[in-house]
């Protein structure tokens, strides 16, 4: 039902030209060869329940009772409980790899560290956390050095029930071939490396892989004489690597928390239980006792792509590691953190996953907005010390990245170059940093002369490090293009929100690398690294006149009606006033640009949208930051990501993008880094204004799901105290409301179209015409199927979400699928009530 939706919408959108767009910015061409190069391994979609056949029926019949049927195939009472289950913190579902963890267990902290390494966090509220084992999560686990049997062993130690056989099988199967083989660039030669020589021998028998092999004689000269010997060297370690900002040898054990919580004996027991986990964590650092060996064979540089593809096909995806300390061809970059720069513990932890064995692993680090992703990226760049290309989602964030590099590191200004539609700089010297946007790099058509020269430069050289910001906002195609056209030895993706039903994650795992680390939001908030936020959803009743029209109108107009609802206007005014009086700095978000402008003008506040020029943007943002009179600004979708405004302490959403969980999280992220977060009792506020009894309610609840699973709670506010007593309240009289209604109804289709185009930010400009084409490719049928069921009804890929299964919400609910009509807004609001 939806197959025509997104593509039709994108076709339409593509024809529009953004006010800000220039020649460089148009569609991404994704050639078919490229598609073929990026093949996702077979086991990537393995489901544990398919391995679970043995359990059905075993001894179950005798134990079935009258409530068993409630649980379908999830009645696991046949799993024996261990005698000492009380001291073990988790349960594992045989059917789906779900793990339920008691967050109050004395060893919960260690268990969490372990689980984050091997599974995907599903929910992490106050008491009980849930995780899920997936092929990707296990891929990530082995890639940071965990071994199959250790994973099973530690899981078993932590589990109240024996690790079910289906799960053991699942782990074995997923880790059998994943993470076993590495592609290493060392002394400027490419090696396929593994600790398992038999695996390499097996690979060499493959004709594609074998064909790329390089043989050398005793004098290290290439020879045609074939011999089957592998080179052997000792396993790499991170012992002598220093990551800037991190003190070596610092004890990384959790601070005295455990002692406080538990009796001494209990603690000892826990430590025994946990020995294995700790050992695994440390495995990267010290394995001097037994000098393990790794085996390798060399391959030709121009066969690398082919061999990578082939390895994916045969389910032995290669992890990419960059032995930057032994790279003598690419010149070093003079860069280090300034001595005053301090790295926080979780930043350190994430970096240690990346550099654990002394090389740079490619992968993704997930930190909430405001938790200092930028600094993690910069520190990584300072560790690798090679030329670095940074890609971000908008030209505003390009400037912010540059500024941050200058702030935290000692890089010279002339070594950082910026490449945007306005600026095309080059760095001086052999090595340097270039910061650009995805759209600049991914766009292949109609470049200006300058831009083309710049692109030639970017494509012609080898990059030590490719830093990818906000990876989950970017259409998958853009990634494919970027990742395959830029030659980079190590890739690091940064993001705040891995919204897990988004299938693009599948791609990211294999395009960039596995997820190396994912932080716990509530944990960071409780430790003061990000702000505490009170979230609320404010219910604004529709006026009878607006609601009567709402019932009559088509979907597009409906959206405008519920955004422009006079009661919502009033709630917005009320909240702005309330929070300005408290001394808050407020950002009001509206996806709908028509509404954005109307609200901002009516309430006399500055606003920024896609059509606002760069100079004007900077002027408004600076005023907001430094001018005590400007305490509220209105932002369109352009403000969702990357705009760094640590002054903001209050967010109000009046219109949003349907049920996008990611957008919700990104917007929340705008206040997580609030400067005042460490003030005593400080709270930031996040309100969603929702028109009651409209579709907005549905989207609003859906949008909150990701944050709710992180432990946030949305309070519903049905009544704003004293709102009607404000003499300056807008649209107070019925006549004013009717005038507003009239103007909304007069808004014509053309105006609504303009909104769409203005709403696009730098990333949004890259449309997804080719996605439709991709969906028709036979090689990708598997994912195409699910894609066609997608729904969240966005008009561009950046925000589109997918329902992974056919039984998804949207299949049942036509409302979720705006189909061919392409308007975009979902509003949602949250609010917070103060005592």
């Amino acid at each position: 039902m939806t197959s025509s939706g997104p593509s039709a919408a994108s076709q339409k959108k593509r024809k529009l030209s953004d006010a800000e767009s220039s020649d460089e910015d148009s569609d991404v061409q994704l050639d078919l060869n490229l598609q073929n190069k990026l093949y996702v391994p077979r086991h990537a979609n393995l489901d544990p329940s398919s391995l679970n056949s043995t359990h059905h029926g075993i001894g179950i019949e005798g134990q079935k009772d009258f409530v068993s049927h409630i649980f379908g195939n999830e009645d696991y009472t046949w799993l024996p409980l261990k005698n000492d289950h009380k001291s073990r913190p988790l349960w594992i579902s045989p059917e789906n790899g779900h793990i339920i963890l008691e967050g109050f267990s004395p060893i919960a902290e260690q268990a969490q560290d372990f689980l984050v390494a091997i599974s995907e966090p599903v929910s992490r509220p106050a008491h009980i956390h849930e995780y899920k084992l997936t092929p990707y999560s296990l891929y990530a686990a082995v890639s940071v050095g965990l071994e199959t049997e250790d994973i099973i062993e530690v899981l078993n130690r932590l589990s109240k029930v024996p690790v079910p056989e289906s799960i053991t099988k699942f782990i074995r199967q997923c880790t059998l071939s994943y993470g076993k083989v590495k592609l290493v660039l060392k002394h400027n030669r490419y090696y396929v490396e593994s600790a398992h020589p038999e695996t390499l021998q097996m690979l060499l028998k493959d004709s594609v892989i074998g064909a790329g092999r390089v043989y050398r004689d005793e004098n290290d000269q290439i020879t045609t004489e074939q011999n089957s010997a592998l080179t052997v060297s000792s396993k790499p370690t991170g012992k002598d690597l220093t990551i800037p900002g991190i003190q070596k040898g610092k004890d990384t054990k959790p601070d005295g928390l455990n002692e406080k919580l538990t009796a001494e004996e209990q603690k000892k027991e826990d430590e025994k239980l946990f020995g294995a986990v700790v050992a695994i964590d440390k495995e990267d650092e010290d394995d001097d006792d037994e000098a393990e060996q790794v085996h390798a064979f060399e391959i030709q540089a121009d066969h690398v792509e082919n061999i990578k593809k082939r390895c994916n096909e045969i389910d032995y995806p290669m992890l990419e590691e960059y032995d930057f300390r032994n790279d003598t061809v690419n010149p070093n970059l003079e860069i280090d953190l300034k001595p005053i720069t301090v790295i926080r513990p979780y930043q350190e932890k994430s970096l240690s996953k990346m550099f654990g064995n002394g090389r740079a692993r490619s992968g993704i680090i997930v930190l909430p907005c405001g938790a200092g992703k930028t600094l993690v990226g910069i520190t990584a760049a300072c560790t690798i010390k090679k030329s670095c290309l940074v890609l971000c989602t908008s030209s505003v964030s390009v400037m912010q990245w540059k500024q941050q590099f200058l702030q935290w590191s000692n890089i010279k200004e002339n070594q950082i170059a910026v490449f945007t539609s306005d600026q095309k700089e080059r760095f001086s010297g052999d090595a340097g940093i270039v910061i650009s946007t995805y759209s600049m790099v991914a766009n292949k058509r109609k470049r200006s002369y300058d831009a083309q020269k710049m692109m030639d430069f970017l494509e012609s050289r080898e990059w030590g490090f490719l830093l990818l910001d906000e990876v989950h906002v970017v259409p998958a195609n853009m990634f494919r293009t970027v990742v395959t056209t830029i030659a980079a030895h190590a890739k690091l993706g940064l993001t705040a929100t891995l919204v897990r039903e988004d299938e693009k994650i599948d791609d990211l795992n294999f395009l960039i690398g596995p997820k190396l680390y994912e932080a716990n939001w509530m944990d960071l908030a409780s430790k003061g690294h990000i702000a505490n936020v009170q979230c609320a959803e404010v219910w604004c009743p529709m006026t009878p006149e607006f609601y009567a029209e709402y019932l009559l109108e088509n979907t597009r107009k409906r959206t405008l009606l519920y955004v422009m609802n006079p009661r919502k206007f009033q709630a917005c005014q009320y909240l702005i006033r309330y929070h300005e009086e408290r001394g808050d700095k407020i950002i009001v978000f509206s996806d709908n640009v028509h509404a954005l402008v109307e609200y901002a003008k009516k309430l006399q506040k500055p606003y920024i949208y896609g059509g606002t020029g760069q100079q004007e943007r900077m002027r408004i943002l600076q005023n907001f930051q430094y001018n005590p009179i400007v305490n509220t600004i209105f932002l369109s979708k352009v403000g969702d990501t990357s705009i760094d405004l640590p002054e903001a302490t209050c967010l109000i959403q009046i219109s949003s993008h349907y049920g996008s969980r990611r957008q919700e999280a990104q917007r929340l992220g705008r206040i997580l880094r609030a400067k005042r977060r460490n003030d005593e009792g400080f709270n930031a506020f996040f309100y969603s204004l929702v028109s009651k009894d409209t579709q907005e309610m549905y989207y609003s609840t859906k949008r909150q799901q990701f944050l709710i699973d992180q432990g946030y709670a949305f309070k519903v506010i049905t009544n704003l105290e004293g709102i009607d007593s404000d003499p300056t309240l807008v649209f107070k009289t019925k006549n004013e409301q009717l005038d507003l209604l009239k103007s909304v109804l007069l808004t014509n289709e053309a105006d609504l179209k303009d909104e769409d185009l203005h709403e696009m930010d730098d990333v949004g400009r890259i449309t997804d015409r080719k996605v439709a084409a991709k969906n028709r490719l036979p090689g990708l049928v598997r994912r195409t199927m699910t894609t066609s069921k997608s729904l969240a009804g966005g008009d561009n890929m950046a925000y589109m979400e997918y329902s992974r299964s056919s039984g998804g919400q949207f299949a049942k609910n036509p409302r979720g699928n705006p189909g061919a009509s392409k308007e975009h807004h979902s509003l949602f609001k949250k609010h917070l009530k103060r005592k």
């Binding site: 009772d65 009258f66 699973d709 709670a713």
Partner: protein, 475 residues
């Protein structure tokens, strides 16, 4: 949907009794003690303070014992005491303890007087002596058999005829013409959400009603119930001191699991925990006893775990993301949770689920209210939950209430619309008439329209006809 209030104690019932019944009740020291134990703390303190005061004491004096901010509580306690006829007012406006109560309560405290009201421990050793664990098991099996029957379990044996009768009389279950057997009612669903103590009392109160109908002596019944509350768990008692009515009761109470007798006609009986906690005020329940009889090695650990969590107060964890984790292996508890939670997975000692709009609406359809769900979640909150305030996530509680509210957005009432009055005075008179009869649902004087309850149509029509006819006559 009407909310059915379960009496959480026996006060409400006692308050309905006439004074001479109290006079008889007070003659038993055990009854005095039991009623005393049911009093709020401040009430107990007042009784102890003036128990030995022979002369009436003025209200003022009593008030001087407490700080100003305690006066409200004091007032409530005094009210309660007078309702129970423990405190009486003298003609001179003084307060004095009821003389019978005074005498027998003193006996209860000092051990004087007629002792057998506290039961007569058997003098001989029971050849078939049972221990507390046995009694707990017996009590939970019996009581849960009733609950199982209510939720429709086919696994346990059918309760006795007396129990079935009581279930039906109390409107917890009813029979439908079409099918055989009983079906749980809305009230029955609500009953399931109560704690065991409340359930037992609700059951016993119903029993009292029935006893009255059966012409049993109410005072003897009550005395026995109160006596049970003062017995010692694990001790066997002789039936010798019991009246005939009370011996008859033993059989019924055995069906409920409140007392244990090895066989009918046995000369001795054991009170179970259900009996000994009747008046203790602590809600020592049987629910946690409801172990599945798997008999595995793990089960002993389980019992320890369950008892521990029970001691601290509960087995339910409710998260801000609406997920629920319940440490239970009891099918009965799971069946109750299933009334308002969408359950997902079940492990030997824990089930997980999520509270959804759908699951809560199903509960509403069964007559369960938001308050009952919330109170169930509160009552059974896991010790970990109790470390935080508020106990339950506010957002979830609010949401459950909002879900309830959204069901009540439309009120409909069968009615008649009266309109087209030619004369304002006629309308006004009819409107006033309807208002006086309290049947006016809506009116608009300007439009001369009014809506009245359907059942009043005939009355109003007659009135208006008469008035219009009168108008014609005079006009």
């Amino acid at each position: 949907m009407s909310v059915i209030n379960f009496k959480t104690n026996i006060y409400d019932y006692l308050e309905t009794l006439p004074i001479f019944t109290f006079q008889r009740l007070f003659q038993k020291p055990a009854t005095c003690l039991a009623i005393f134990r049911l009093l709020p703390a401040i009430g107990r303190q007042i009784v102890m303070s003036i128990l030995y005061v022979e002369n009436p004491i003025s209200l003022k004096d009593i008030q001087s014992w407490v700080y100003k901010d305690g006066h409200k509580k004091l007032q409530e306690a005094l009210h309660k005491l007078s309702k129970l006829h423990i405190l009486e007012e003298t003609p001179e406006k003084g307060l004095i303890v009821n003389s019978t109560f005074r005498l027998e309560f003193k006996n209860a405290l000092s051990g004087g007087g007629e002792h057998q009201s506290f039961g007569l421990p058997c003098a001989t050793v029971d050849k078939h002596k049972v221990d507390i664990a046995f009694l707990d098991h017996f009590a939970s099996t019996q009581w849960e058999a009733i609950l199982h029957y209510m939720v429709g379990t086919t696994m346990t044996k059918r309760p006795s005829r007396g129990v079935l009768n009581l279930l039906q009389k109390s409107d917890l279950m009813n029979s439908t013409a079409s099918e055989s057997g009983l079906h749980i009612t809305n009230k029955g669903f609500q009953f399931l959400l109560q704690d065991v103590n409340t359930q037992v009392w609700a059951f016993l109160l119903q029993y009292l009603d029935m006893a009255e109908m059966l012409k049993m002596d109410l005072v003897e019944v009550l005395n026995f119930l109160f006596q049970l509350g003062s017995l010692e768990l694990g001790q066997d008692y002789s039936v010798e001191t019991l009246t005939e009515t009370q011996q008859q009761m033993l059989e019924d109470l055995g069906d409920y699991g409140i007392v244990y007798r090895r066989k009918k006609g046995s000369r001795r009986f054991y009170p179970t925990r259900l009996a000994t906690t009747l008046t203790s005020g602590t809600s020592a329940l049987v629910t946690s006893l409801s172990k599945k009889e798997t008999g595995t090695a793990a089960s002993s650990a389980m019992i320890a775990a369950a008892e521990e969590s029970h001691d601290e107060g509960g087995f339910l964890i409710l998260e801000t993301n609406y997920r629920v984790y319940a440490y239970t292996e009891s099918p009965l508890q799971i069946a109750v949770l299933n009334l308002f939670i969408q359950l997902k997975s079940r492990f030997p000692n824990m089930v997980s689920g999520v509270i959804t709009r759908e699951s809560v609406r199903n509960a509403f359809l069964n007559g369960i209210t938001a308050d009952q769900i919330i109170s169930y979640l509160q009552t059974h909150a896991h010790p970990q939950m109790r470390k935080r305030a508020p106990l339950l996530p506010l957002t979830v509680v609010d949401q459950i209430r909002l879900w309830e509210m959204e069901r009540n957005r439309v009120e409909d009432k069968a009615a008649y619309l009266y309109k087209d009055f030619n004369v304002q005075a006629d309308f006004d008179a009819a409107e006033k008439y309807a208002k006086d009869l309290d049947v006016l649902l809506w009116s608009n004087s300007k439009q001369r329209k009014m809506v009245i309850a359907q059942e009043a149509h005939e009355t109003l029509r007659t009135y208006i006809k008469r008035r219009l006819a009168g108008n014609r006559d005079t006009g």
